[in-house]
């Protein structure tokens, strides 16, 4: 039950079997969550698109994040001890369509952090693999409604540190060092003219991380190396449109994270994984499907944290390459021949 707009695109597509655009978009959005894991934004597969079954996709992308000011509680501070903190992420990722309505995502980012020169702290940065992540997205409903299509989806995600990186080494730590279960609901409405809006709301349950010290202060003494990483609400709103005969799409986004507990970063002191992190971020995103090369897509985006608490005033820019293919095609062709 394809709607008109999608059908029209499919008809123009050189390949009827798959739709790379849908696919690399969702992949990229998933990727965004990795790039900003440190910032505790974790939007995982948050779009409303599904891959046709028997398809798989790989994504390689590079994200450049940086901040030169951060919120200490609600006070925005610059700090020459750390100067500008750079956070670059290389992300290999794969998505597999198990069924038409059920997609699996896996990814493992490599993160490198460091301060700009000169800085007053002379701290060593960090680098390494961050968190292994897997997510399942299920489309519960896709229904023509008025002049477009309404989709309702849900995503269940899990991530956990892939290495023994030290989470208690902010602002250089690779991630918050704790497992995360996430549950998200997504609603999207696609107009037949190429416009769409999407809303997402989710809850991120975050577990505990282990520090390498066995005492810390979190509005009082804690005699343990176990730190409670606050769980968080996650919201997102998207306004998007397809251009150039469904080969280019552009989005404007607003997203937010709101920790449900935690302490504030103390005066001129380092952040720690127990902090109550909140932020609001706006972003722009472009995606282009290259008509001449089957299955290949390009993405680019920029986002900025505009308001926050206990987090860096981060700006991220990223580029990515996606390639989609039909992983059962050969087998299917053989079967057809028989």
């Amino acid at each position: 039950m394809e709607n008109n707009s999608r059908t029209s695109f499919w008809q123009k597509s050189s390949c009827m079997d798959f739709n790379p655009k849908w696919f690399f978009l969702q992949l990229t959005l998933t990727a965004l969550s990795f790039f900003t894991h440190y910032d505790l934004l974790s939007q995982t597969p948050t779009d409303a698109l599904m891959m046709p079954s028997r398809n798989a996709c790989v994504l390689l992308s590079y994200d450049m994040g940086q901040f030169d000011r951060y919120w200490e509680g609600d006070y925005l501070r610059g700090n020459e001890t750390i100067a500008t903190v750079h956070r670059n992420t290389f992300l290999p990722m794969a998505a597999i369509s198990i069924l038409g309505d059920l997609n699996l995502y896996i990814g493992l980012p490599y993160v490198k952090t460091e301060s700009s020169e000169p800085n007053g702290g002379r701290f060593e940065g960090a680098n390494g693999f961050q968190d292994f992540m897997a997510a399942l997205k299920y489309r519960a409903l896709e229904k023509q409604l008025g002049k477009g299509t309404l989709s309702l989806l849900s995503t269940v995600g899990f991530s956990t540190p892939a290495t023994n990186y030290l989470s208690d080494y902010m602002p250089y730590s690779l991630g918050f060092g704790a497992p995360e279960f996430s549950l998200r609901g997504i609603a999207q409405y696609d107009w037949n003219n190429g416009f769409y809006v999407r809303g997402m709301g989710g809850y991120l349950w975050r577990g505990y991380t282990e520090a390498e010290r066995d005492y810390y202060y979190n509005n009082g003494s804690y005699y343990s190396s176990t730190m409670d990483v606050p769980s968080a609400w996650n919201y997102e709103g998207i306004l998007g449109k397809w251009f150039l005969n469904y080969s280019l799409r552009a989005e404007l986004s607003y997203s937010a994270i709101k920790s449900t507990s935690g302490d504030d970063v103390r005066d001129y002191n380092a952040a720690q994984p127990t902090n109550k992190v909140q932020f609001e971020r706006i972003g722009a995103f472009l995606q282009y499907y290259i008509p001449s090369i089957k299955g290949l897509g390009l993405v680019a985006y920029h986002s900025r944290v505009v308001n926050g608490r206990n987090t860096g005033k981060m700006a991220n820019t990223g580029f990515g390459l996606t390639y989609q293919f039909n992983y059962l095609k050969d087998k299917k062709e053989i079967e057809d021949e028989n």
Binding site: G121, R122, E124, S154, F181, G207, R213, Y216, Y223
Partner: protein
């Protein structure tokens, strides 16, 4: 159907996740215990500051058959009959060894105030000022020297107060309420220690007084804790009001003496002005041809407490008598070898070395190295079931040795004014924060060695392990990239040497 399964699965995952909520300990977890020893002759031990146990005069109590006493008994019985849940929790929290609890309160305040002031908008720095404690920045900045001193005065005053209390306990021999009245059931393990004057009350009032001076912004909090503690003494069935009043009287006298010493020990001059700091630095350059520089941005004009080395020591008359040998000159082979060692550690960081560096870091926002050793002492005290008097003695001698160690270390730091690795190794990066004071010798090494020696003296069965810990704490700073190996090794020797003076005093106080 598929949707239902997925939603159900997701909910199950979240329920499972939430059921994993952990209770992370906020203090040393122990219940009341039977004391290993009552130390009946503890009243004859030699106090640190008091001129003998009877320097505070305590009148004989009313007898247990007097109307006044029976009225007091009736009063606590009526209070105990109307006890509420919070009061029960409070009794359980304070236990029958509040030395540990008040020490933990001190550690918590140290961690709370161990925040280095950041720069102002014009790149100047404002230092905390005890005369305007509200700040900003708030007073104090409880860095390691400050912490060592706060803990020493707290522990010494507790110890002297308890010696005095023990003296009168066994002089007047008035049994505890639960010993006099069988209908009163004691909240803790019973013992035969007389209850007049109340040792708990000594601890509550002394600790409140000392900590209120050390942490003036916490007066209201400390008063609340004192009140809660004093109330729990009555509600436990262990004390009547006159026990408490006598304990409070001792406490007030002892803390006055301790705070008098604190006011004049030289700490108020320790954070020298820039002119003095510059001349200390110039003198070192003149003497040795090197000088430590602060490399922060913006530069901090004065290092941390350049004159802490001039603060009055507890067990040593002349700080220069324990000053270590000079560090290697910057053109020596020994120095060059150390540069290679540090570079090698930095280039080949292992998870083990990283973990050691972090475990002992005890940096900003924590209870500092002196606090870390107090935490160990608390655990040992509970483990060996010490009574409050012997606990206070352990803490007093350990914290006197730690403070003396800090004074001696700071004397060496500013006399030698030796540069940090980041200053002399081009492009060097660290995994620990480089502190705002000279390198030689390492504070962690000296504090830890001194603490471990006193603990080895008091807990001989722990000697080997605590000495190994001290050495690990020392080398942890080299792994962190902020100290030379000779800062650590010479510092360890220095701490052991300094502690011996305090141990020699302790050995003669009558407790052994």
């Amino acid at each position: 159907m598929k949707t239902k399964y997925i939603i159900f699965g997701a909910i199950m995952v979240l329920i499972l996740a939430n059921s994993c909520e952990k209770d992370i300990p906020r203090y040393t977890e122990f219940k009341s215990y039977a004391y290993a020893n009552n130390d009946e002759s503890g009243g004859n031990w030699v106090p640190v500051l008091l001129d003998g146990a009877t320097a505070v005069d305590i009148a004989p109590p009313e007898t247990t058959t007097s109307t006044a006493y029976l009225t007091e008994i009736a009063d606590i019985k009526s209070k105990m009959d109307n006890i509420n849940d919070n009061q029960r929790k409070s009794i359980e929290y304070w236990t029958n060894n509040a030395v540990v609890r008040w020490n933990e309160i001190a550690l918590e305040l140290i961690a709370k105030y161990n925040l280095i002031p950041g720069p102002n908008d014009d790149d100047t720095y404002t230092l905390p000022n005890p005369n305007t404690p509200d700040g900003p920045p708030g007073f104090p900045f409880s860095h390691p020297p400050y912490a060592s001193r706060a803990l020493a005065y707290l522990s010494v005053a507790q110890f002297d107060g308890l010696i005095s209390a023990w003296h009168y306990k066994y002089q007047y021999n008035r049994p505890a309420p639960y010993q006099n009245d069988a209908s009163i059931s004691y909240a803790y393990e019973p013992n035969d220690i007389p209850s007049y004057p109340s040792d708990g009350a000594v601890l509550a009032r002394v600790s409140k007084n000392i900590l209120s001076t050390m942490f003036p912004l916490e007066v209201a909090y400390l008063e609340r804790m004192e009140k809660e503690h004093l109330e729990s003494l009555l509600l436990s069935g262990g004390n009547v009001q006159s026990d408490i009043d006598a304990g409070v009287f001792i406490a007030n006298s002892v803390s006055e003496i301790a705070l008098e010493r604190a006011a004049n020990d030289g700490m108020k001059n320790a954070q020298a002005p820039k002119a003095v700091s510059d001349s200390i630095k110039a003198a070192a350059f003149e003497r040795f041809g090197w000088q430590w520089e602060n490399l922060e941005l913006p530069v901090r004009p004065v290092g941390l407490t350049p004159l802490f080395g001039k603060v009055k020591m507890w067990s040593i008359d002349d700080v220069e008598s324990v000053r270590p040998i000079p560090p290697p000159s910057l053109d020596s082979q020994e120095y060059r070898d150390d540069v290679e060692i540090l570079k090698n550690y930095a280039d080949n960081m292992t998870e083990e070395r990283r973990a050691i560096a972090n475990f002992w870091q005890d940096g900003l926002g924590t209870y500092t190295p002196p606090g870390h050793w107090n935490r160990f002492a608390n655990e040992f005290i509970v483990e060996s079931k010490m009574n409050p008097l012997r606990s206070a003695r352990t803490m007093a001698y350990m914290n006197m040795a730690i403070m003396d160690a800090g004074i001696s270390c700071w004397d060496a730091k500013y006399y030698y004014h030796y540069p940090r690795p980041i200053q002399t190794i081009p492009g060097f990066r660290t995994i620990a924060g480089t502190p705002n004071f000279p390198s030689y010798t390492s504070g962690h090494s000296v504090f830890s060695a001194a603490a471990s020696e006193v603990l080895a003296y008091i807990f001989p069965e722990k000697a080997q392990i605590v000495r190994a810990w001290a050495e690990e704490a020392a080398i942890s700073r080299v792994y962190g990239g902020i100290h030379w190996t000779f800062d650590a090794t010479v510092g360890t020797d220095q701490g052991r040497n300094v502690a011996q003076f305090t141990i020699d005093v302790a050995k003669l106080d009558g407790a052994d």
